[in-house]
Subunit: 213 residues, 2 copies
DNA sequence: ATGAAGCTAATCGTATACCAGAATCCACCA
DNA sequence: TGGTGGATTCTGGTATACGATTAGCTTCAT
């Protein structure tokens, strides 16, 4: 497919990112470099590169000579992230659907199937697959847009995991996904945009409800 | 002021970024790590961390086992970057002006004064100061928004330098800056937003004109 | 007891040396 | 002319060492 060769830095990045996203590394925790390096069996160069990327992703903060700390979650940041998604994602998805090739259609279909399959499992990791699907809808658009969306998705994922994963809001969201993908593959930009707005608003309102309890 | 201690990685990042932005490292050029490390007198760890950040900034691309390459400029990307700025920046600046403290006001004023002073110099580096000013207007808003805007500003700066720096479009832009800052300090979000839209559109239209010649 | 001052241990940031493996180049050969 | 198979050059990664800084703990004076 695309890139099969991945550097150790990449893999380390994804492992640590997952740890943060699933809460295995709690907010406020200092990142002990040699400990993690030893756990993962990598040396400091790939680890530090991974941590640097995570800082740019907004998952870590760094303090000179004191290292990295897992960033806190906050309702302020949650609002910010979802406000940004609302500003960018609908347009990005719409734009992408106009440029999407058959290969992109296939990729998006695959991503959604994988997500649905994961939802069927009792203890599946559907949140990651959800992110992958959403990003597949954006990828055919511009490179920069995709990069920004990727970051927003990652940040959003933290909040979704913490607040929404326990409650299953899966059936409705899943149906919305299908609708979006259909319109997207059809190239119906206006419809895609509207559906995406709704979808994000749906997630956001569920989130707000959870936060207020 | 804020952060006085900066790591070597940070400094290296800024030096290499400047080289790319001013064209000292041309698009398409492969980045020879040991050469640059030797030139800057740093070892591979800070250099690689800097390069990784530049990749996330969209200034470099990396290919496993082949290293980093300076990304090409393209009119497509230029449009993308400015479209994103238009979607994000006006709202971000408006939001920030509502949250800005007196310290933020002072910082923005300082940034604009510095920019104006630089414009007075015959061969000043006003493009960097322009970016600093624009970012000062966004900083009091959310952390994530600021990070995204920072990246967009950096990307935009490349195109501005290449296409607009030769021609001086400075007087009008400079006047617009003053107007924006005044409304911003006053906390007039609606006005700030409108002025910012106009300002970006102004830059964009100058850019399009240059590109079409 | 309590706060300040000083010492100590832990950890970060960086450098250096080294190695395996991929990519590239080039000379040689069909 | 057109491969082909080493040499060469880099990158990506490891191991290790070390100065500097931070944080924690101890001690001492009040």
């Amino acid at each position: 497919m695309n890139i099969v060769v991945r550097t150790l830095s990449d893999q380390t990045y994804e492992i640590v990112r997952r740890r943060i996203l699933v809460g295995a590394m709690q907010p406020g925790t200092a990142v002990r470099q040699d400990v993690i390096a030893a756990e993962l069996g990598v040396s400091k160069i790939p680890l530090r590169e991974a941590l640097g990327r995570l800082e740019q992703d907004g998952l870590l903060s760094s303090y000179p000579n004191r290292g990295y700390v897992v960033r806190d979650l906050s309702t302020d940041e949650a609002s910010e992230v979802f406000a940004l998604r609302l500003k960018l994602e609908p347009g990005a998805v719409a734009e992408a659907c106009l440029r999407a090739t058959p290969a992109d259609h296939a990729a998006a279909e695959t991503a959604l199937s994988a997500l649905e399959a994961e939802l069927a499992k009792p203890d599946g990791d559907h949140v990651s697959f959800n992110r992958a699907f959403h990003l597949a809808l954006v990828r055919p658009g511009g490179h920069i847009t995709f990069q920004l969306m990727e970051r927003l998705q990652i940040l959003a994922e933290r909040y979704v995991r913490v607040h929404l994963e326990p409650m299953g809001r899966d059936e409705r969201a899943s149906q919305e996904h299908r609708e979006i993908l259909t319109a997207w593959t059809r190239g119906d930009a206006a419809e895609v945009e509207a559906l995406t707005v709704n979808h994000i608003l749906g997630t956001l309102s569920d989130l707000k409800q959870q936060l207020s309890t």
